[in-house]
């Protein structure tokens, strides 16, 4: 047999399916429900899957279609089970200049679903632009523009845009300024 059984392959792909589900729902319980629904749908449709084609893209497509059709069905409840909505960004970037993961997550949650999925597929799951476009049922250019807008929005939310960088707030700048002042004092 030249191709592995897609049922076995599915099991190997579960961790990344869960991670993708989490990036869409942002709530662990909802993510697990979504993965379960995806597994059930995939299992009953394996006869439609063409062996040798991209199983990962096929599964991710089922997952996102399930997510968006659920979202359409119910007006999104404003639930805050995991405290996602109450989390606030810090006023300033982390002192070491690196992004604090917590702040990043808060900013990431503020993106649109479409921006989050495009960023996660290409930026974290290793999908090519073409694979991401296939998975999301849109043009490659659409994926690229969602990624660019998502990155720009993240940079803005994390105070990483150029104007913010001009502010005299980062440690290196403060060190230069205070050294200058001390020298002339």
């Amino acid at each position: 047999m030249s191709h592995p059984d897609p049922r076995e392959e599915l099991i190997a792909l579960l961790p990344s399916l869960r991670a993708f589900a989490m990036s869409l729902t942002r709530q662990p319980a909802a993510a697990d429900d979504l993965v379960q629904d995806t597994v059930l749908k995939a299992w009953s449709n394996f006869d439609k899957f063409q062996t040798g084609t991209n199983l990962r893209a096929w599964l991710f497509t089922i997952l996102r279609n399930t997510y968006y059709s659920d979202r359409r069905k119910k007006v999104r409840e404003v639930e805050d089970g995991d405290g996602v909505l109450t989390a606030q960004l810090s006023e300033k970037p982390a002192h070491d200049g690196r992004l604090a993961l917590r702040d990043f997550r808060v900013a990431f949650d503020q993106l649109t679903d479409e921006q989050r999925e495009a960023l996660i597929l290409v930026g974290a799951s290793g999908f090519s632009y073409e694979e991401a476009a296939e998975t999301c049922g849109c043009a490659v250019g659409t994926i690229k523009s969602r990624i660019n807008r998502g990155r720009a929005r993240l940079a803005e939310l994390m105070h990483l845009n150029e104007n913010e960088a001009m502010e005299m707030t980062d440690p290196a700048t403060m060190a230069v300024i205070s050294a200058g002042r001390t020298a002339t004092a």
């Binding site: 049922r7 099991i11 579960l14 961790p15 990344s16 869960r18 991670a19 993708f20 989490m22 990036s23 993510a31 697990d32 993965v35 379960q36 597994v39 059930l40 299992w43 690196r98 992004l99 993961l101 990043f104 997550r105 990431f108 960023l119 996660i120 930026g123 974290a124 799951s125 990155r151 993240l154 940079a155 990483l160 150029e162 960088a165 001009m166 005299m168 700048t173 230069v176 300024i177 200058g180 002042r181 020298a183 002339t184 004092a185």
Partner: protein, 66 residues
């Protein structure tokens, strides 16, 4: 005097900023991608929940009974 130095420092920093705005943009992008990977892997590295393993077990059993 302090003010003059302060303005001079600000001007130098501003010029540095302008000259290096392209690498800065790449650095920002790199940081964003690193964090995207971190949040993705945080979930991807977790063990599969029991409920999901049990569901798969059931599905496989059904399959073999067919």
């Amino acid at each position: 005097m302090g003010d003059v130095l302060f303005r001079a420092a600000k001007k130098i920093l501003h010029e540095d900023e302008m000259a290096s705005s392209k690498p800065d943009k790449d650095a920002v992008q790199k940081q964003i991608d690193e964090n995207l990977k971190r949040i993705f892997e945080e979930t991807a590295n977790q063990p599969i929940p029991d409920q999901l393993s049990q569901l798969l077990q059931q599905l496989r059993e059904q399959e073999t009974r067919k």
